[in-house]
């Protein structure tokens, strides 16, 4: 392991930030796809030079690009995301049926075992898979079709499938999360799905403990313990020790349990990071202080990490796909803000420094340990 590459998706293009293992000097390349909204860029764990990027435009729709040289050059691949079979309806904001309409790709998750296989989470919520390097996409329609789909409803940001977590111990098990439907799991490679939302409580929906309807913002897992999941829900930070069969709240002493990102330390499965955000109507940190909170006990007990982060007059947001960790000996933690900063910590969060300060609003941050 000799270095890291940080893949940043922003409101107006993608950027690649590269450093050696010290992580104190960075080379910045980009913007790639200047002017396009880049919801996500992610590399294959099988072949780190294979990257996938999702570009979106209100004018010109969805594009997917692929790189085979670590982001130096890109080629367009397939952008045809067509729902399988009868499209059907979900609930609109007012509760009326609304036909499923493809809008954009939110998240690309490359396979853990095959560089040509990649999953795409899209809005309106569905899961697609390509097995030919992104050229062709097929919906795993058992997710929308398992029964609760007609009751799904969009969150404020749209009805997006934003989290795709692959189980490293069981290639047939996949977790996904949808705003505002909840979390779902397949144990047979995507044929059959079921909601895994027991224990979630969302007081603003008609039935607070409903099987579906929860606005899950992000799910994270440590690869050594795939049965343990951490969740940042709209409100509430949650934990499951049984692969999502049930959840317990671990918000503990957080100043607010609203937020978007959540991630796990690369070498300490009980060390978890969140960035508390004041509220769903005020998408900025409490008191104008940008603080990452770290729990070393798997939740409930949290410490504020502030060294190197702005502690006054800071009113940025940190969006759901905008935190990642590297797996160097001393774990690096990274997150991007809607103010265009990408902060890095080379010591597990003890101290932070900006890699860049003035990018467009950051949508996503992924890290490759090279």
């Amino acid at each position: 392991m000799s270095g890291v590459r940080v893949l940043v998706g922003t409101h107006k293009g993608a950027f690649v930030l590269a450093s050696d293992g010290k992580r104190d000097r960075w080379e910045v390349s980009g913007p790639h796809f200047g002017g396009w909204e880049i919801h996500h860029v992610k590399g294959s764990p099988v072949n780190p030079d294979r990257l996938y990027a999702a570009q979106s435009s209100s004018w010109f729709g969805q594009q997917i690009h692929r790189s085979d040289d670590g982001g130096k050059t890109w080629e367009p691949v397939g952008n045809k995301f067509v729902y399988d079979g009868v499209t059907g309806t979900h609930q609109w904001y007012d509760g009326t049926p609304h036909p499923w309409e493809f809008k954009r790709v939110w998240h690309l998750e490359p396979s853990l075992t095959d560089a040509d296989t990649v999953y795409g989470g899209v809005e309106d919520a569905a899961l697609f898979r390509s097995t030919d390097g992104g050229q062709n996409w097929q919906e795993l329609s058992g997710l929308r079709g398992h029964g609760s789909g007609p009751r799904w409803q969009p969150g404020a940001g749209g009805m997006c499938l934003h989290s795709i977590v692959l189980d490293p111990a069981d290639p047939r098990r996949i977790f996904v999360a949808i705003s505002a439907a909840g979390a779902f799991r397949t144990d047979d490679g995507g044929e059959n799905w079921r909601p895994i939302n027991q224990g979630l409580y969302s007081q603003y929906i008609p039935e607070p403990t409903a099987e579906v309807g929860h606005c899950v913002h992000r799910i994270a897992m440590h690869k050594s313990r795939p049965g343990v999941l951490f969740m940042q829900k709209h409100w509430d930070v949650m934990r499951s020790d049984n692969a999502g069969d049930s959840w317990q709240e671990i918000s503990g002493n957080l100043p607010t349990d609203f937020g978007f990102v959540i991630d796990v330390h690369a070498h300490e499965p009980e060390t978890v990071y969140v960035v508390p955000i004041k509220s769903d109507s005020e998408h900025y940190p409490p008191d104008g202080k940008l603080r990452v909170y770290r729990s070393r006990s798997g939740g409930n007990e949290w410490e504020a990490l502030t060294k190197g982060l702005p502690q006054r007059d800071c009113y940025v947001n940190v969006l759901r796909d905008a935190m990642a960790v590297d797996s160097l000996d001393e774990c690096g933690v990274y997150f991007g803000t809607t103010g265009g900063q990408v902060y890095a910590s080379a010591n597990g969060g003890d101290s932070w420094a900006p890699i860049v300060r003035d990018l467009p609003a950051v949508f996503s941050v992924e890290v490759q340990t090279l």
């Binding site: 002017g35 396009w36 435009s57 209100s58 004018w59 010109f60 729709g61 969805q62 594009q63 367009p76 952008n79 045809k80 067509v82």
Partner: protein, 114 residues
């Protein structure tokens, strides 16, 4: 040859720097020129028209000879000056506001869009 002027993002996607010239078999219509464009530049499929319905994307507009052709049916013949290559067929990303001469300069075209 029919000249097609693309907006900047689609020129980048297609890997072209200026207008593109297309041969269109048979009667040149709105639909057939888009078919020919997508056949030459498959990366543009889905960026101008929906993959399945073939309907124009809402923020994409078509213009030629000072006329807005955006709502013409796919089998509408193109103006003779476009068919002869004297005037380009414009594919435009809809815009609101802006300054006419600046838009013309940035697009490298001779007409702008309100």
């Amino acid at each position: 040859m029919i000249k097609v002027a693309l907006p900047a993002h689609l020129r980048t996607l297609a890997g072209v720097s200026g207008d593109v010239s297309l041969d269109v078999d048979g009667v040149a219509t709105l639909g057939s020129v888009l078919d020919a464009l997508e056949a030459h530049y498959p990366v543009l499929r889905g960026a101008i028209r929906d993959h399945v319905t073939q309907q124009r994307r809402p923020y994409v507009r078509f213009f030629a000879c000072q006329e807005d052709l955006s709502h013409e049916p796919p089998d509408a013949p193109l103006p003779a000056l476009v068919v002869s290559g004297a005037e380009p067929f414009f594919i435009v990303g809809a815009i609101a506001g802006g300054k006419r001469d600046r838009i013309e300069r940035s697009r490298g075209v001779r007409q702008s869009v309100i």
